[in-house]
């Protein structure tokens, strides 16, 4: 096993990786930018090195500086976390040629999975279902009709050269094909100077469900089941759960998805941890979307339900050990939910809210796990993703896990900045959410139907009372609130007076 590992990341994931390194008695080397000198990952590390100014392009994305730091500190391996360089094939290759182990898949697998088209072709070759579609230009509306008759309406006409919804039309019946084809083609011509269209089956109200994989360098791979990640805002996951309420209700679905995911990953020569993302329709049919070739943000819920430390397993297989786990060793117990706590204002269009943390009370107690990078007095930097912490809970059933999450969120207090903590409380109270009727458009619809986060009637008068009391107190004891005096200062003054 390694004796020293560098973490090429920051924030909560750097702290998360460091915790497992500690437990394995491996020294942790942190890297940091100007903005992060006082960040928790630097404070917690055994060794740390400055790698550049705050913008990530000048620090956390600088392959040369990270490799220099690794060799100067004698790190034998690099954990990339997620984001930054974690899915950069050149970085993985550069590590290997510098004689440093990249804790992740081989560079070639990252490269192959990095292209959506190549990944889709690999999935087809491996026999995994993909969203039915002909990714080549249609010659006529008749071809679109023939496709729709084979796979069923609704279908989507999309511009071959397209993106951003331009040149895209939904079609629900044979009679609409001609006009939709004409409109989409002329819009595509105007937007991209290319009128070519292709057709794809439209998955309505899709769920986003992913499968966690882990494999060793010798071709042995297991899956750790699914995570439901349909609660998204701005196409970014904010809340995840394991098991998926849909998968849990369908015998055999987890196994089918797991096997399909393993087939795709192995066909790309994959090893270490990775996640295969699927779109799932209302009937439980699943379609390969893409593969994330790294540890996922939401991995803790899988750890809570399966009892395995995925970072430890990553380190073991990266060090060349055989994966001793068999598929039948992996069992799923209870239910876990994760909320991504962001410095943002959920009542002002999720506007980022960086700044100084003036108060902090963390949730504790049974079944609560908090992966964070926040401390009282820390200033949330403006340069990076404003993720403060991932709050995860475990309990025996989905219902009791929801109750536990509400309880934990009520204990959680972050002062000085806005957070989305109360937004999660509202989602967890939502009937559609409780019924498990999830899809990727859930948050948008929820925002339209949500009621204001209204306080019980007695609270306002209590608040007024406390405000008056506080104000009167600070008027009579104006110096009672500043930071506590240092005992050293007192002793110093005392000594000076002797």
């Amino acid at each position: 096993m390694f004796r020293k590992v560098l973490i090429a990341n920051r924030g909560e994931i750097a702290v998360r990786v460091m915790r497992t390194l500690r437990e394995m008695d491996i020294a942790a080397v942190a890297v940091f930018s100007d903005a992060d000198r006082t960040s928790l990952h630097v404070r917690m590390a055994d060794e740390a090195e400055w790698i550049g100014p705050s913008p990530s392009a000048e620090s956390y994305l600088r392959i040369d500086r990270i490799l220099e730091a690794a060799s100067r500190h004698g790190a034998e391996a690099i954990h990339p976390g997620y984001g930054f360089l974690s899915e950069n094939a050149d970085f993985a290759a550069a590590c290997e040629s510098a004689g440093i182990v990249f804790i992740g898949p081989p560079a070639e697998s990252i490269r192959r999975m990095g292209s959506k088209i190549a990944a889709r072709q690999m999935a087809i070759a491996a026999g995994a279902p993909v969203v039915p579609g002909a990714h080549e230009a249609l010659r006529s509306p008749a071809e679109a009709r023939a496709f729709a008759r084979q796979f069923g309406y609704p279908v989507l006409l999309k511009a071959v050269a397209g993106g951003g919804g331009k040149g895209m039309r939904r079609v629900d019946a044979d009679t609409q094909v001609d006009s939709a084809f004409r409109d989409a083609a002329s819009e595509a011509e105007r937007s991209f100077k290319n009128p070519e269209l292709y057709v794809e089956k439209l998955i309505e109200r899709p769920r986003h469900i992913e499968i966690q994989l882990l494999g060793d360098r010798y071709g042995h791979m297991v899956h750790f089941g699914e995570r439901e990640c349909s609660i998204q805002r701005r196409h970014q996951k904010v809340m995840e759960e394991c098991p998926s309420p849909l998968v849990a209700a369908r015998p055999g679905m987890r196994e089918a998805m797991g096997e399909a995911a393993i087939r795709v990953a192995l066909s790309a020569g994959y090893y270490n941890a990775g996640t295969v993302e699927f779109l799932v329709d209302a009937h439980g049919d699943f379609y390969f979307l893409e593969m994330n070739t790294r540890l996922q943000v939401e991995h803790p819920i899988t750890e809570l339900v399966t009892g395995h430390d995925l970072v430890r397993l990553q380190l073991e297989v990266a060090a060349g050990e055989k994966l001793r786990l068999r598929q039948e060793d992996i069992a799923w117990r209870g239910s876990a939910i994760e909320c991504r706590v962001y410095a943002e204002d959920p009542y002002n269009n999720f506007f980022p809210s960086p700044g100084k943390i003036t108060r902090l009370t963390r949730p504790l107690g049974p079944g609560v796990r908090l992966d964070g990078c926040v401390y009282d007095g820390w200033i949330v930097p403006i340069d990076y993703d404003p993720l403060l912490a991932k709050l995860a809970v475990w309990n025996g059933t989905r219902e009791s896990a929801i109750a536990r999450m509400v309880r934990a969120l009520r204990e959680y207090d972050v002062g000085g900045i806005h957070t989305n903590i109360t937004f999660f409380r509202q989602i967890l109270e939502d009937e559609e959410f409780r019924a498990g009727r999830l899809h990727t458009g859930f948050v948008d619809q929820f925002l339209e139907r949500r009621k204001p986060f209204a306080p019980p009637p007695d609270l306002e008068s209590i608040a007024a009372l406390v405000a008056a009391f506080h104000s009167a107190q600070s008027a009579t004891h104006p110096h009672s609130s500043p930071a506590p005096r240092s005992r050293w200062l007192d002793i110093g003054r005392h000594e000076a007076l002797r």
Binding site: N349, T358, R359, D385, L409, L459, E460, H470, Q473
Partner: protein
């Protein structure tokens, strides 16, 4: 017995009619903000014993400035000087922390000045536009 006890700096434990509450205080320009169970209350304290300069909160009357809530970059202007705008209408798009956000008109009126320009870097509190 009803009680208010300071338990930590800025944190009060309230016992009222047999119920227990925890209240947390934040000072915010001129008023006291109290948090109880995730709910936020802005309380204005008027204490005649204290000399206080009434800043005169900007209401719906007169000129209202739109300021940058945090440091960032102006991506796009959505209105021009002289435009009539509705309350809540987007004025400009600002990028901060890798996210783009629309700054909205705080009230209906006319854009009397727009000091921001596309591509400009702004600091928190900078005046971007004014509505009258």
């Amino acid at each position: 017995m009803n009680q208010i006890v300071a338990v930590e700096p800025g944190v009060y434990s309230v016992l009222m009619d047999g119920r227990s509450y925890e209240a947390r205080i934040e000072q915010s320009n001129g008023c006291v903000v109290v948090f109880i169970d995730g709910h936020r209350f802005e309380i204005e304290i008027r204490d005649p014993r204290r000399w206080s300069r009434q800043t005169g909160r900007q209401g719906a009357e007169g000129r209202l400035n739109v300021t940058a809530p945090m440091p960032g970059k102006i991506v796009r202007l959505l209105v021009a000087q002289g435009d009539a705008v509705a309350a809540g209408q987007g004025l400009l798009v600002m990028e901060a922390m890798k996210m783009q956000n629309e700054m909205k008109a705080p009230k209906a009126g006319r854009v009397v000045s727009i000091t921001a320009h596309e591509g400009a870097t702004v600091a928190a509190g900078d005046v971007l536009a004014a509505i009258e």
